[in-house]
């Protein structure tokens, strides 16, 4: 891992840490209050705040995971150079598309 990827992975971890705690708090809150799916969607749809928070979380998680998978692949497989770059970008794209699709589903009306 180069210093550039190292900084990117640490920075995304720093972004994720508070957002994941918030995410867990939301889960505990929703389950303890017995909120239904309709209740939750009623609060999240059209919310710029929830949409922004989870968009940032998805982008940070996708970047962080793609770099981690790149490191594992470089150590445990013969992948190098362009193949390793392609795998990294493919992981990033897949995770971000899946994540943003989920965010859109709960935020967009």
């Amino acid at each position: 891992m180069s210093v550039r990827l190292y900084i990117l992975q640490r920075a995304t971890a720093a972004v994720m840490a508070p957002l994941l705690l918030l995410h867990l708090a939301v889960i505990f809150y929703a389950s303890s209050r017995g909120l239904s799916a309709a209740d939750l969607l009623g609060r999240t749809r059209g919310s710029l705040t929830w949409g922004s928070i989870y968009t940032v979380l998805v982008l940070a998680a996708g970047t962080h995971a793609a770099i981690g998978i790149r490191v594992i692949a470089s150590e445990w497989t013969p992948l190098r150079g362009a193949a390793l770059e392609s795998l990294t970008w493919a992981c990033l794209l897949l995770l971000v598309v899946l994540g943003l699709t989920a965010v859109a589903a709960v935020v967009l009306a």
Binding site: S2, V3, Y6
Partner: protein, 238 residues
Amino acid sequence: MAEIAVSLWRGKADGRYQVYRVPQRDNQTVLDVVTWVQRYADPTLSYRFACRVGMCGSCAMTVNGRPRWTCRTHTAKVVVAGKLEIGPLANLPIIKDLACDLRPFFEKWQQAKAVFAPRLTREDAIERIIPTSAARLAVDAAIECINCAVCYAACDTVRWNADYLGPAALNRAWTLVNDVRDTGNRQRLTAVAGAGGCHACHSHQSCQQHCPNALNPTASIAGLKRRSMQAYLRGELE
């Protein structure tokens, strides 16, 4: 007389362990055992040693699965149920029997720019170094490396990543980063900030666990991570 059943690696990478029965003695080191086999059982056994007192770093081998300096490892400490297994160091090509090719190890010292780049010449006065300065204390903590390659053989990242510079080269680079007489930090920090550099370390701390001189290369590598990151953010890397 009590004997030890010693399994010694014979041959190259495709070799095998061969058992020798060696007399067990008081105050006997693992290096004594290997030497006994060569002198009295099989003179074709190849191994490497020099000083026999823990200074030169030549005699490191794998003892019961762990890398150790054999001249300072007593058999009383490592013989289990009358048995001992001695092999060549891991993560290095085997030349023959217990002797490894250390060229990859030392070539990575060069790649890490772990070489002193002086500012003064022999014509200049000797520079005064304050022993209690933070930089000198950081050097002192890491300077006693004897180049034995035990840390290199113990390192998981070296095993997984052929490009990784390894704990010893990075530890040496860290001593030079903190040497106020040195001028090579721009090139050095650039060298250790690349793909096989300090950021590839997973901090498993096997180097620290196995270093016979109780050094902590993991801490040195952590220092390099911080210092090279700062240099990158300031745009100081090449």
